[in-house]
Symmetry: C2
Subunit: 191 residues, 2 copies
């Protein structure tokens, strides 16, 4: 049982899904390729933590709709109360930032501007998703006992982090511009 297995269980406890659907739902908080998801679903089903039903479709490929079993639920609930491993972040951009002094100010600025535009897109996407979720609930936000509560607060978290990333980039850009200005001043003084 690895983290991905628990991630799948925690999504199936909300509602039965196909592997394909799980892959997309997973993207907010745990990225995995289909080549990792499908074999794991089979394994979890063999361990009787999941069951599935074959749904025949016309015009589309058939699919397997997985549901969690009582055993699966028990395993998940036990795991939730265990203490979690420390978060791991792997972001190539941060490596490049570490060595940013190697490139000229113009290139550095471009790197951060691109990062901002990437995160702006993600923020817009996230706002739409949150709006969609809020429309499904009369009083704005899903109730704590609702199956969507966890998903909703995770989206809010992601949104906050993306917005924070943009603010940090803007802070760095301001530092870079200050530096450029002061260098220009120097050039002026020397002419």
């Amino acid at each position: 049982m690895n983290s991905l297995a628990y991630a799948l269980l925690s999504m199936l406890v909300r509602k039965p899904c196909s592997g394909y659907e799980l892959k997309h739902l997973l993207e907010v908080f745990w990225q995995a390729k289909h080549s990792q998801i499908y074999p794991l679903l089979t394994k979890l089903q063999q361990d009787s933590l999941l069951t599935y039903e074959l749904v025949e479709q016309s015009g589309k490929p058939n699919k397997k709709i997985y549901s969690i079993t009582d055993k699966g639920l028990a395993v998940l609930q036990e795991w939730i109360s265990c203490k979690s491993a420390l978060p791991v972040i792997r972001d190539e951009f941060l490596i490049k930032v570490y060595a940013i002094w190697l490139v000229d100010t113009q290139s550095a600025k471009r790197m951060f501007e691109e990062r901002i535009s990437l995160f702006r897109k993600q923020v817009n996407y996230r706002l739409n998703e949150i709006r969609g979720m809020e429309e499904e609930h009369r009083n704005g936000i899903p109730d704590i006992s609702s199956r969507s509560f966890g998903r909703y607060i995770l989206f809010q978290r992601k949104l906050r982090q993306e917005q924070e990333e943009i603010e940090w980039c803007e802070w760095v850009l301001a530092l870079l511009e200050e530096n450029q200005d002061s260098r220009l001043e120097e050039v002026k003084r020397n002419t």
Copy 2:
């Protein structure tokens, strides 16, 4: 050449380090075990991206101090201008949050309180590190052309994200308490 290899190069371009030292410096933005770092350093040295010097010590084990070569620098600089892969985050806590509706409000609150205390510790640690860096530079922050600039802004980013995490947890706790209060009201009305 994987991301970790570039991470090592980007640290060695600042100053020569031992594998042991690299492991610790790495922790801010790319986590790796020594069992992954040491063989990779050997490989990079064989590819002549790095060289090393054996430093004999008394009372402590001997160490290898690695330095980047011209070839290593060229490889790193070329990579910096390539576009980066999307960041990957793997955080077990987020999986548990997804399935939070399975546990009672008290347990949920406890989970978020523990998360806050974990992040508060990290914030304090980060503040100390930043203070240390700022003391090394007369005008408060390292210059852009300084080798410490990248490291400094990465620490600032980490700090922001950790503070944001705490704020998010506090927002969730407020939601949980609201819910508890309204349930209490209901109980009162029914008695």
